[in-house]
C-alpha cells in the first residue's frame, strides 16, 4: 500500500499532483507497432466526492491523443448532455512520501469534459476514492491518501 501525505492551502480543499498517460493496452500496442508513446501529462487533481467518475479536461485528452471508447449521459442544469469516455493510465508521481511513481490504474475509464479550471484539470472522483483511504485534517490543512 502506498501513502501520500501533504499540506494544502486555502479553502479550496486538497489538491495534489498526478500523472495521466495512455492506458497500458494502448501503450503496448503502440510499442509493438513501433509508434511513439506520448509522455504522461503532469497535472493537478482535486478530490471530488460529487462525481462518480474521474474527469479530465479536454486539453489533457488532446495532449495525449486519447481515442474515445464511448460516451455517457450526464444530467446538468441545462438538461441531459453526453460526455466522452476515454481510457487512461493514472498514477502518482514520486513526491510527498512516494519514492517511485505509483500506478493507481493501468486502465481507468474517465470522462472528458469542458469547463474544468486550467489549474486543476483533473477530478479524482468516487470511482478512485472508493479504492483508497483518504484522511483530511481540516484544521491542520493537511491530508493523507493511502492506496
Amino acid at each position: 500500500m502506498g501513502r501520500v501525505s501533504m499540506p494544502y492551502a486555502g479553502d479550496d480543499g486538497p489538491q495534489f499532483p498526478v500523472l495521466i498517460g495512455l492506458d497500458g493496452d494502448r501503450v503496448t500496442a503502440l510499442v509493438d507497432a513501433g509508434g511513439v508513446v506520448p509522455p504522461p501529462v503532469f497535472a493537478t487533481a482535486t478530490f471530488d466526492t460529487g462525481t462518480n467518475i474521474s474527469v479530465l479536461s479536454r486539453e489533457i485528452a488532446a495532449r495525449l491523443g486519447l481515442l474515445p471508447v464511448g460516451q455517457r449521459s450526464s444530467q446538468t442544469a441545462g438538461g441531459v448532455v453526453a460526455a466522452s469516455l476515454d481510457l487512461v493510465g493514472f498514477g502518482l508521481p514520486p513526491m510527498f512520501g512516494l519514492t517511485e511513481t505509483a500506478i493507481l490504474e493501468e486502465r481507468l475509464l474517465v470522462a472528458v469534459l469542458p469547463g474544468l479550471p486550467d489549474d486543476a484539470p483533473v477530478l479524482f472522483g468516487m470511482d478512485l476514492l472508493n479504492r483508497c483511504l483518504l484522511t483530511i485534517n481540516g484544521p491542520a490543512r493537511s491530508f493523507a491518501h493511502e492506496f
Binding site: 471530488d48 467518475i53 460516451q71 441531459v80 477530478l123
Partner: protein
Amino acid sequence: MAAHRVLHTKTTIPFRPLGSVIHYSELAPATTDSTLAEEWETFRRELPELLAKGFAGKHVLIVGSEIVVIADTFVEAVAEGRRRFPDRPIAVPLIAEWQPMIRPSGGIRWAA
C-alpha cells in the same frame, strides 16, 4: 377481516434502481460536435432490439453505424475494437435498460 384496498394492479412506470442511471428512452441525442455522434445514434436506435434479444449486461462494440461485436465485458469489447480499428474512436456502451450516468460535479462549469 378488513378489506384491503388495492392501490395498483398494474403499473407502466419502470422501477428505477439506485445510483446515477437514466432510462434508455431518455438518452439525449448526440450533439453535432461529438466525435461519436454516429455511434451514439446507432446505439440509441439499436438498444431496444438488443435488450429484446436478451443481451442485457453485455457490451456492444459500435463503429460508425455498424454493430461490430457483442462482448461479455467492456475490456473484451475495447480490445476487439482497438485490434480492428486501432486509429479511430470506438463506442463500447453497456446494453442495459438503465444506462449509467455521469453524476456531475459542482467543480465543472458546464456552460463552457
